[in-house]
């Protein structure tokens, strides 16, 4: 699945920045925070790119920027080499047909008044088209739901079943790229594994490309072909090989904090000290510096750039962990 260096990536994010302002009033200025700061990412056809990070790292904002659901404050979104950053409304429709999204919460992602048939016909209705006959049934088959579900309402379904509907809806246009925003985060582990297996199956049979957003490094390492680690809005590490040894101290800490389901391997976990600082008051240097065990003076003064290490892997650290 490795692309040649000169190939045009199917989805490219170039220097994306997004700031939010909150709490402004009539006589008061709001505070602004940078949710995503200068993130660039190239997704090649057939890739499963995992974006990992803890809450507030900007991974969901990044997903919505890539989907063109929100506008970036700076930077560009390119799809198959075409800049779609300035497109809005109807002009985005060609993109919508090729780029779809599955959302985290299967409970609120389906309209309670829609039957599953309505949900799966919505992609066509939204664009004023009529669905080809048998499409609903084909979609239900594709995600492993019984056809008799077509007339059911979402509240009659379990979380895992709803998430299958969410996936089917995203597949209705036969898209090329699907953004998966924590599609299993609100499901039980046994259901999470089902859904991941389904996604893997679809990837294999339909040649899809995924941008997979998750907080679970273990899951990402299992599922993805490439991993991007985010911390406080910035990419700190890009791993071309999911099994590679992490180079960034944050990735290493993230891995060290994940428990292994094996009591004979009781790791002497040394938890990372402190917590993620408020995104409203970012330190000037490396955002991870205040919690980093390998911190040096220059880390607090200036921000390390994302630089190539081995192969296509990159790390943004002045003092990376030795490979």
């Amino acid at each position: 699945m490795q692309m040649p260096a000169d190939a045009v990536p199917v989805l490219e994010l170039d220097g994306l920045v997004r700031t939010f302002t909150t709490g402004g009033g009539l006589l008061r200025k709001g505070r602004s925070m940078t949710a995503v700061s200068d993130v660039s990412l190239r997704v090649a056809a057939g890739d499963i790119v995992g974006v990992v990070g803890e809450s507030g790292c900007g991974k969901s904002t990044l997903a919505r920027l890539a989907m063109r659901l929100i506008d970036p404050s700076a930077g560009r979104v390119l799809f198959e080499g075409r800049d779609v950053t300035q497109d809005h409304g109807p002009r985005l429709r060609p993109l919508r047909k090729k780029l779809q999204m599955v959302f985290q919460d299967p409970y609120s992602s389906l309209d309670p008044r829609f039957t599953l048939r309505d949900c799966l016909l919505e992609p066509f209705a939204a664009l004023g088209e009529t669905a080809p006959p048998g499409r609903v049934e084909a979609l239900l088959d594709q995600v492993g739901l019984d056809r008799s579900f077509a007339g059911a309402y979402p509240h009659q379904l379990s979380g895992g079943q709803r998430q299958r509907v969410g996936i089917a809806r995203a597949l209705a246009y036969r898209p090329e790229v699907v953004v998966l925003d924590e599609p299993t985060a609100s499901l039980d582990v046994s259901i999470q594994a089902q859904i991941i297996a389904l996604l893997q199956e679809l990837h294999r049979t339909s040649g899809l490309t995924y941008l997979f957003i998750s907080h679970d490094l273990g899951l990402v390492r299992y599922f993805c072909t490439r991993i991007v680690v985010m911390y406080l809005g910035s990419v700190v590490e890009e791993m071309a090989d999911p099994d590679a040894v992490p180079r960034h101290p944050y990735t290493a800490a993230l891995m060290g904090s994940s428990f292994v389901p094996d009591p004979t391997e009781r790791a002497q976990i040394v938890p990372l000290e402190g917590e993620i600082p408020s995104p409203f008051a970012l330190p000037p240097g490396c955002p991870f510096a205040p919690r980093c065990a390998r911190v040096q003076d220059r880390c607090r003064a200036s921000r390390p750039a994302l630089t190539q290490t081995t192969g296509a892997s990159k790390v943004a650290c002045f003092n990376p962990v030795e490979a």
């Binding site: 379990s158 999470q192 089902q194 299992y222 099994d243 428990f259 009591p263 976990i269």
Partner: protein, 329 residues
């Protein structure tokens, strides 16, 4: 035994939600109570603390023997003297576990003033001491702050401090880390494990995460749809799970070096509470080893060689006799 639960059954209205649960925990021991949503694990926590009645639940059978006394049928006022003093409780979501209008200090003080009869000043000193022992920086300042000033991990430490304030013998922690970030989750879990060792208390850790169980529990009790599927020492259960559900649950966690496609999950979903059957194995519809017997006869828990329990007609290490029947399903 510090806490010995035998055949605990509970219902809300006409629906039986817990059916014959048995487990025990001793001082210095961590028991993991594992299950997915709908397994009844949180309700079990409430039943043990006598709070299930607030949800309209009634205990219909069984005993909960705590340090020699049976808590089932205990008078509410007596139970109240136990709660917070001898049994500490840690809730799932630290974000909503604290009263937003009361300072951190006052909320922790409340416990020691109530149960230890400390004066206002003594209680505050006690609070600050506990908070700093839980590695909360500037504990005196934090004590004057309100919950919204603290991060999630800090709030969970405060909740733990409240559970510890009256120096209890047993702590029940209901998914204490589910709402927290991965790195913070590790901090809190290690802190709890450390407390059990240092203070010699019993800990019941309620969780859905088998990895957490593997890391800090001594014993584990796996629940499925309100019944015990399997229980026993952690090493034993992980090395050789005998209930198909336990085996599948462990297999649902992605690990390094797993081949792509090897994570399959468990087919189907947990039945709705109203659809719980009585005379059957409730896991049967999702089980690859189930046969006609599993669907008509409840597998009763049997004590195993390691002191644990197993409720299965066809455990993993037994040959599947009626494989054809299972396939036909």
């Amino acid at each position: 035994m510090l806490l010995d639960v035998r055949d605990l059954s509970l219902r809300i209205g006409t629906v039986g939600l817990l059916d014959g649960l048995s487990f025990s925990v001793d001082r210095g021991e961590v028991l993991g109570l594992v299950g997915e949503s709908g397994s009844g694990k949180s309700l079990t926590a409430l039943a043990l603390t006598g709070l299930a009645a607030r949800m309209g639940a009634t205990i219909t059978a069984g005993s909960v023997v705590f340090d020699g006394t049976d808590l089932v049928g205990l008078k509410e006022s007596a139970y109240r003297r136990l709660r917070g003093k001898r049994i500490g409780f840690i809730t799932q979501n630290p974000m909503s576990a604290l009263d937003a209008l009361v300072t951190i200090g006052d909320q922790v003080d409340q416990v020691s003033r109530l149960h230890l009869g400390l004066s206002k000043r003594a209680a505050r000193a006690h609070t600050v001491e506990i908070l700093s022992r839980l590695r909360i920086p500037e504990a005196e300042v934090v004590a004057r702050a309100y919950p919204h000033n603290l991060s999630g991990g800090m709030k969970q430490r405060v909740v733990i401090a409240m559970a510890l304030a009256a120096d209890p013998d047993l702590i029940i922690a209901d998914e204490p880390t589910t709402a927290l970030d991965v790195t913070v989750q590790a901090q809190i879990v290690m802190m709890l494990a450390d407390l059990v060792r240092k203070r010699d208390l019993g800990l019941i850790l309620i969780t859905h995460d088998m990895s957490v169980v593997a890391q800090i529990c001594d014993k584990v009790c796996v629940l499925y749809a309100g019944r015990v599927a399997e229980s026993g020492p952690v090493r034993q259960i992980f090395a050789a799970p005998r209930h198909p559900y336990t085996e599948a649950l462990i297999g649902c966690i992605p690990r390094d070096g797993m081949a792509p496609g090897s994570l399959r999950g468990i087919p189907g979903t947990v039945a709705a509470v109203s659809q719980y059957g009585a005379d059957c194995c409730r896991f049967a519809p999702r089980c690859g080893r189930a046969d006609a017997r599993c669907r008509t006869q409840q597998p009763l828990p049997v004590v195993t060689g390691t002191g644990g329990m197993l409720a299965c007609h066809h455990p993993v290490d037994s040959p599947v006799k009626e494989a054809a029947d299972a396939d036909a399903r």
